[in-house]
């Protein structure tokens, strides 16, 4: 029996016809090209290059961006795409999030005309891969204190410093790197092969194994002057990218949760213990009913956030709530699904443990769960609690 996406309230009936067609196309692609290959890719710790090509071929990279060869879809469509990709694996969705929201978006919003024309069409088609360098070894939740810096040198900038935990880093053709120029955070485009730039892969992950994670190292890295993003200064630059990526994650987490629910439901129906399917026992039904409840709420949250994003009536706190909640419930659903599968739950024959391990990263990146709590706390009280001074 194929995958059946739980949609108890028929939330997808609120989508447009195109959004549903895009959903079906991406869902079919995940069934054919991700599900049969994902466990092996995880075992080997690789992101398959064919995924890059096929995602580009489907025309879904940089989904909500308009012009420059980008798809020009709604934010809701972008959310649907993230949900379907993450039903397959968070690593595939991460690739698309980073490419679209973290690498294409800043060029699209803050780049020069030449930069847009040079990079965006080829990034939309998947020909060029991008990555986003914000986090540093010593600055995760507080990127504002980053130490990577840029200095002017004639007609060049010289970058020095290091970024860590950078998705797509090693396979990227270009990196959007945030660094301080005269103490102010600015965005720079660094290309693979630029002098003084290297991107070694980080190994040994127990999570997001089918996604490439890397360090970016800049040692007197020399880039031409026209690689600075002219349109933005300060943390607003990286944070506007993160808003879009977090929006996608709030949908993506629903996909991972739907996958875990689908597996848990069918396992519970067929696994016989004490002469009956375990689904016949109240404790197991309670778990399934709880999953259904949380997934339905998360779907409605994601959908309504999509409507707000498309109408422009949103604040970053709306996105924080959805990212935090949906990843949180997805992770808990993955854990409960693992429990329902008993010992089988730890095998790669079922997707649940993979989703569970992936979601641990998703809980941390793009603003940790608690950073979003602090964002909401500040919104409620007007008092920031990120730091103990001031």
């Amino acid at each position: 029996m194929g995958y059946e996406a739980l949609d108890f309230y028929d939330v997808d009936s609120l989508l447009t016809d195109e959004e549903r067609m895009i959903r079906d196309a991406v869902r079919d692609w995940v069934d054919e090209s991700v599900i049969p290959k994902i466990e092996n890719a995880c075992r080997e710790g690789v992101f398959l290059d064919e995924w890059r090509q096929e995602l580009g071929g489907m025309g879904i990279l940089g989904a909500p961006l308009k012009g420059y060869g980008c798809p020009g879809l709604s934010y809701t469509a972008y959310g649907v795409i993230c949900r379907e990709l993450e039903r397959g694996d968070s690593g595939i969705r991460s690739f698309a999030s980073v490419q679209g929201s973290l690498a294409m978006y800043p060029i699209w919003d803050f780049g020069s005309e030449e930069q847009k024309e040079k990079y965006l069409p080829k990034m939309a088609s998947g020909e060029l891969i991008g990555c986003f360098g914000l986090t540093e070894p010593d600055y995760g939740s507080n990127p504002g204190d980053m130490v990577t810096k840029a200095e002017e040198d004639d007609d060049h900038y010289i970058l020095n410093g290091a970024k860590m935990w950078i998705t797509n880093g090693t396979i990227a053709d270009l990196a959007v790197v945030w660094a301080k120029l005269d103490g102010v955070i600015r965005g720079f485009i660094v290309e693979k092969g630029d002098e003084g730039f290297s991107a070694p892969e980080m190994k040994g992950k127990h999570s997001l194994k089918a996604s490439v994670t890397s360090e970016l190292v800049f040692q007197d890295c020399k880039i031409p002057k026209d690689r600075i993003l002219p349109g933005v200064k300060g943390l607003r630059g990286p944070f506007s990218c993160l808003n879009n990526a977090r929006f996608g994650i709030s949908w993506g987490a629903v996909g991972a949760a739907q996958s875990c629910f689908d597996s848990a439901r069918s396992y519970a129906m067929s696994r016989i213990q004490f002469d009956h399917p375990i689904a016949a026992y109240q404790l197991v039904q309670n778990k399934l009913a709880w999953m259904l409840r949380e997934i339905t709420k998360a779907q409605l949250l994601a959908y309504h956030l999509g409507v707000k994003k498309d109408s422009g009536e949103w604040v970053p706190e709306h996105i924080s709530l959805a990212k935090m909640n949906n990843v949180d419930i997805a992770l808990e659903i993955a854990r409960v699904a693992r429990d329902i599968h008993g010992a089988n739950g730890i095998l790669d024959e079922y997707p649940v443990m993979r989703h569970m391990a992936n979601l641990e990263s998703v809980k941390t990146y793009e603003g940790t769960h608690d950073i979003h709590n602090l964002i909401l706390g500040r919104h409620i009280t007007g008092i920031q609690a990120f730091t103990r001074e001031a």
């Binding site: 029996m1 194929g2 059946e4 016809d17 195109e18 067609m21 895009i22 196309a25 079919d28 692609w29 071929g57 489907m58 025309g59 879904i60 989904a63 798809p71 879809l73």
Partner: protein, 251 residues
């Protein structure tokens, strides 16, 4: 050159089917899709489009919901869409007459269709339409190419592959081929939504759906599989062999 592709919308092969009142309960079907053999016919038509500049007209007959299959066909590249809108049950004879009339109206030179539909499995549509149009029909085709003005079809036979040449209009009934089916991309989906669908009733085509010829009386579930049998020990080998030969017919 114009190629008509006959497309039927059927329940997805993974959809659960339930029966009420002797007929399939359509309301319970969660997902509809283009019948798989028709998808191979469509793929072949799109090949003729890219290789020989053919125009592809996708034609379906069915209720309102089946227009989705035309939009799906447009999303992968069909140029024109024709919907013979009919909400009731169709007998195979009236169905074939209506499709033949639609093909005539489309002015297509050749017709591509699946060898059978995934729901009814009757396999009568392609030869029936050919009969009504007075055209030859080549079945179990996996590929059609234009070679020196002729249509050359590859078809599988019990002994291998056969190449058949047809020097004029023809109906080709498609089997599953080796071709990878193209998947819709976002651009195709966005354009498909804007493509007009020519919607016609059977009456517009001068066809009456009254005399269906062959009609489905009722459908039922396949019989329950009998419970498996267990044998133990070398002594039962000859009994197992006999059963495999005479009951299961597998050796």
């Amino acid at each position: 050159m114009k190629v008509a592709v006959l497309i039927k919308q059927v329940p997805d092969t993974t959809a659960r089917i339930s029966i009420s009142g002797g007929l399939v309960d359509e309301g319970s079907i969660s997902k509809w899709t283009i019948s798989p053999y028709d998808e191979y016919a469509l793929e072949a038509a799109l090949k003729l489009q890219s290789e020989s500049g053919a125009k592809v007209v996708a034609i379906t007959l069915g209720p309102q919901r089946s227009s989705k299959s035309l939009i799906d066909a447009a999303a992968v590249g069909a140029d024109e869409l024709m919907h013979v809108l009919y909400e009731g049950d169709t007998g195979s004879l009236s169905l074939q007459s209506a499709l033949a009339a639609a093909v005539r109206k489309s002015e297509a030179d050749i017709v591509l269709a699946g060898k059978q539909a995934a729901d009814t499995n009757s396999g009568s549509t392609a030869p029936g339409v050919a009969q009504m149009l007075g055209l030859p029909c080549v079945g179990l085709v996996s590929e059609v190419k234009v070679v020196d003005g002729n249509f050359v079809a590859t078809r599988s036979t019990s002994s291998g592959m056969e190449r058949v040449s047809v020097n004029g209009p023809c109906v080709f009934a498609f089997d599953k081929g080796d071709e990878e089916l193209r998947r819709p991309n976002v651009r195709g989906i966005m354009m498909a939504k804007k493509k007009p669908i020519e919607s016609l009733s059977p009456a517009d085509l001068g066809v009456s759906m009254e005399d269906g010829g062959v009609n489905v009386e009722s459908v039922g579930y396949p019989p329950e599989k009998p419970a498996g049998q267990t044998f133990q020990g070398a002594a039962s080998a000859s009994e197992v062999v006999t059963k495999l030969r005479e009951e299961a017919n597998v050796i």
